[in-house]
């Protein structure tokens, strides 16, 4: 469903994506992790062309992103994107945030869009917030609305770019629960995250990146128990040590 073949990307002279080869099949959950600056955010942003690629081929849901003639707006309507900073529309209520794209892009009626939006809001546990404004919500609530907003377009793929990194610790769980529920429903997902618990429990595959290269690609169990690459071992040590220190 998402196929990277020899993808390269440069920011000026910085080689941010170096020969990426990945294949995500329908219904699969791929978690991308790695130290900061490894190119994982850039990688996920190429999938809906928030960042165009410079070399190689990238095919997403049948759309060829290396072809300039591809109607990128059409593809983006099929791909939900959830940002680290939520990026809700602050001038619109929760319900309008969710119904805007379906009514304007899919041309469905306002009434129908609102009914669907309420189903989604109930699913993320925020039906009572339909008329609230983003600034009235906590970070975790905003991110759950952002997920509902993305789902309202009935996307075939969902992309999550560090969806819990901007959240207070006590709100991370509520967002991960929504994502887990989504994964169990069979959604094709690519998730950039440091939440190794989520990766272990939900991911079908983990890709580890460093310096723009996918160093390791493995089943979560293998990745966490038997990391092959030295950088991956180091990364996991740094990530897991503080957690072990907390638990007696």
């Amino acid at each position: 469903m998402i196929v990277f073949k020899g993808v390269h990307k440069w920011f000026k002279t910085l080689h941010v994506l170096n020969d990426i080869n990945l294949h995500v099949t329908p219904g699969e959950v791929l978690v991308v992790c790695g130290p900061s600056g490894s190119g994982k955010s850039t990688l996920i942003r190429t999938i809906n062309q928030l960042e165009p690629i410079n070399e190689g081929s990238l095919i997403v849901d049948g759309y060829d992103l290396s072809d300039k003639k591809t109607d990128i707006n059409k593809l983006r309507a099929e791909v939900g994107f959830v940002f680290q900073q939520f990026n809700l529309y602050p001038h619109l209520s929760v319900i309008s945030n969710i119904t805007l794209a379906p009514t304007k892009i899919r041309n469905i009626s306002k009434k129908e869009a609102e009914e669907q939006a309420m189903v989604l809001l109930t699913r993320v546990g925020l039906s009572e917030k339909r008329d609230a404004y983003p600034s009235q919500l906590s970070g975790g609530q905003q991110q759950r609305v952002a997920i509902a907003r993305a789902l309202a377009m009935k996307p075939r793929i969902m992309l999550f770019d560090e969806p819990t990194s901007a959240l207070d610790p006590e709100m991370i769980g509520e967002v991960l629960a929504v994502m887990k529920d989504l994964a169990l429903s069979g959604m094709t997902m690519v998730v950039v995250t440091h939440e190794m618990g989520f990766a272990r429990e939900v991911a079908h595959r983990v890709a580890f990146m460093a310096d723009g290269i996918v160093l390791e690609e493995a089943h979560p169990e293998d990745f966490f128990m038997r990391p092959q690459h030295e950088r991956a071992k180091q990364f996991l040590r740094q990530l897991l040590t503080p957690m072990q220190a907390e638990c007696p």
């Binding site: 928030l50 309507a77 602050p90 001038h91 304007k104 609230a132 600034s135 377009m153």
Partner: protein, 235 residues
């Protein structure tokens, strides 16, 4: 001793009162049309100024440098005395037979003000985080639709205070239309003064009218801002 007898009755009733009311109505019409058109044109120029296409950006830039750096009075004279001369005779005759003074004044005020409004709106747009555009684009909105539904509604709210200034300038600048014979408020006050020599009363009336008009514009925009735009107050 004061060598002047006040006679306020001339501006509160009778023929001169009717003149002033006629002037007030013309000023209201001219200001309203110019404000609405200048706002819409300003939006368009602001969006063009931020376009991805170089020629469009260049055109918008040239437009606003040209129109905000030449005097409004010259622009009014240009549209009234200059523009129609280059048109075919038939169009020319038709224009002169219509209320061309009013049209020329409205065009000049609209274009002049749109240049300032475009820059105000552009600065509003630049203050919206770029992530808003990313969120809109990743939902599948085109650049223009993103502007329409997500960026401009937020930018316009931020731009309200400078926009009020521009609207007030239109109302006050509309008095320059008298120079080409538009019978607006200042023109009529001048007429009343010429016929009655009651300059103090006549221009007091004009002053009060402009003052009230300005206060009305400010109040209307603020009410709109409160009711329609300023809705995401923090809890």
């Amino acid at each position: 001793m004061l060598n002047y007898t006040f006679d306020w009755s001339i501006i509160t009733s009778g023929k001169y009162f009717d003149w002033l009311v006629a002037g007030l109505i013309t000023t209201l019409k001219l200001s309203t049309i110019s404000i609405v058109m200048a706002f819409l044109l300003g939006l368009l120029i602001a969006v063009m100024r931020m376009s991805n296409s170089k020629p469009i950006r260049w055109f918008a830039h040239a437009y606003l440098e040209f129109f905000r750096n030449t005097p409004l009075l010259v622009q009014i004279f240009f549209w009234y005395f200059g523009s129609y001369k280059i048109l075919p005779t038939a169009v020319n005759d038709w224009l002169v037979s219509t209320n061309f003074e009013f049209a020329a004044a409205a065009i000049a005020l609209t274009i002049y003000t749109s240049a300032f409004i475009a820059e105000d709106i552009r600065s509003g747009v630049l203050s919206i985080p770029k992530e808003q555009m990313e969120a809109a684009r990743s939902a599948g909105f085109s650049y223009l639709r993103s502007m329409q539904y997500i960026i401009l509604p937020q930018a316009v709210r931020i731009t309200i205070p400078p926009l009020v200034n521009q609207f007030l300038n239109v109302a006050k600048n509309s008095s320059l239309a008298m120079t080409i014979g538009v019978m607006e408020m200042t023109y009529q006050a001048r007429q009343v003064e010429s016929y009655t020599f009651k300059g103090f009363e006549a221009f007091t009336a004009a002053t009060v009218v402009y003052l009230l008009l300005s206060i009305l514009i400010t109040a209307l925009v603020n009410a709109y801002n409160e009711k329609v735009l300023n809705i995401h107050k923090a809890a």
